[in-house]
Amino acid sequence: MQESVNCQYLALQLTPAIPVIGGVLFLFVLGTLLRTSFSDPGVLPRATPDEAADLERQIDVANGSTGYRPPPRTKEVVINGQTVKLKYCFTCKIFRPPRASHCSLCDNCVERFDHHCPWVGNCVGRRNYRFFYMFILSLSFLTIFIFAFVITHIILRSHQNGFLKALKESPVVVCFFSVWSIVGLSGFHTYLISSNQTTNEDIKGSWSSKRGKDNHNPYSHGNIFTNCCAALCGPLPPSLIDRRGFIQSDTPQLAPPTNGITMYGATQSQQSHMCDQDQCIQSTKFVLQAAATPLLQQQSSEPVILTASPENGGSLPGRTSLTLAGPCTSLPLGQPTPPTSTPSLSCHEATDMLPIHGHSHTHPLQEPLAHHHFLTPEEVPSPPGMLPCGSPMGHSHTMQASFFNPASQDSLHEDSVRGLVKLSSV
């Protein structure tokens, strides 16, 4: 309101270019703000169950521990003569790349994590740092512009009305404080860009010389100009996540798109488990109960299990029998195991896929939960923290899914695995 009065007055008194330039600046600020808010900051997708299992295997081999939660694992890497520690992220199940950090607000690991900006409502990371910088830079120009013309307005008005009256009517105090805070922030980020540091690193003092004599920033290119160019004009990597993918609960998911995969893991599992929450909780309890039982051995997959055992019983639809290679297939096969009180979620699809009583399934996942094959506690594959039955099966599923099947088992497996792990890690 006051700005419009300001503009009107100045437009009449001085030149109509003032509101025009102001308008253009304002639009630019808004554009960069929206771009920063809505672009992917460089989220690292969570590891697939196979990768996570592989890493955990390596960690266990090195540690020799069989605890539920292994001690925080770090890897050391030497980059440009500087030793950098890579931390293991328990949520995303990956070793974070250097400069990446897990944002607790977004619940994702972000590459070149700068900070989570509440004003923008998004993390600022590798992919949107330049937009963020342009936002605060243009905003500082805008605030300086407005402040300058507020002052001009006061001066011009005070000739007519008197200084104090003019001062009362103008937003000069607000402008003053905004200018200092925004310009200060821009200055700080200009310094960060020129030294190729992130806010995170600066706050922690990772590369400060106070930590050690030889402590230096291994990522800096040497001169200010190169650092600035690299941060602002360098190549923009594409997003690693698929934000437009459809999350389909309880229906087969198509093969993942080639450029990035739907990997807001926890979110996905949460969404598809909103309806399965009770079941999830029950099965988690069940798994926790069975935590004492030894891990089911990870057999190498033997699809010929199906052919070799004459107690197959009934007809096996060829497609389904073959897609299930792996130890899990041996579990429900032809075994009239007694139902337990809680079904095991992790072997959900397996049981649905294999008709126990000889009738064929048309669409396994449309089968109601009544078809759940109930596993005895001995058959429950693993304690929480280790990936459940889904894991040895998972890789075969994933493979088959991406090749031959619309990954019906795969998505549910991943979801159930993540759901279980997420619940059990709470």
Partner: protein
């Protein structure tokens, strides 16, 4: 070859076997992790995993990984061309990317083609499959090892 028999079980065995040939079973997966010794650029470790020893030449494998590393380095290279693209994009308020794709995306397509090519020529005959790292968030190169089927012809 489809083998007709009176016994249902045997017929099923052969049915399944025939389909087995078409859908090989996954034996295991090997993950080639990222190599961060050169900083944050995308680079994979060239260390030869022991699981592949019986399947493929060490040199062949290293060559594949090295080529991939070179391609990723090309994508992330800082140079005149990338700066020009960046500045042009900034001036057009990034609307230019509605018409053309970024240099990085172009190289990613090149990488996809290379991987497909390698799979067809070298890895598939040995019962292996390379997965494009972009499908794994550029974290790992996933190599799937298929069961070695002595029955039936090679694929």
């Amino acid at each position: 070859m489809y083998f007709v028999s009176r016994k249902c079980a045997v017929v099923r065995i052969y049915q399944v076997r025939l389909q087995d040939l078409q859908q090989p079973a996954v034996s295991s997966k090997v993950f080639i992790q990222r190599d961060y010794s050169s900083g944050t650029i995308c680079k994979f470790q060239t260390k030869f995993p022991s699981e592949l020893e019986s399947r493929i030449d060490k040199q062949q494998f290293e060559e594949t990984i090295q080529t991939l590393n070179n391609l990723y380095a090309e994508a992330e290279k800082l140079g005149g061309k990338s700066y020009l693209e960046g500045c042009l994009a900034c001036l057009t308020a990034y609307t230019i990317f509605l018409c053309m794709e970024t240099h990085y995306e172009k190289v990613l397509k090149k990488i996809a083609r290379y991987i497909k090519d390698q799979n067809e020529k070298i890895y598939a005959p040995r019962g292996l499959l390379l997965t494009d790292p972009i499908e794994r968030g550029l974290r790992v190169v996933e190599i799937t090892i298929f069961e070695d089927r002595s029955i039936g012809s090679g694929r």
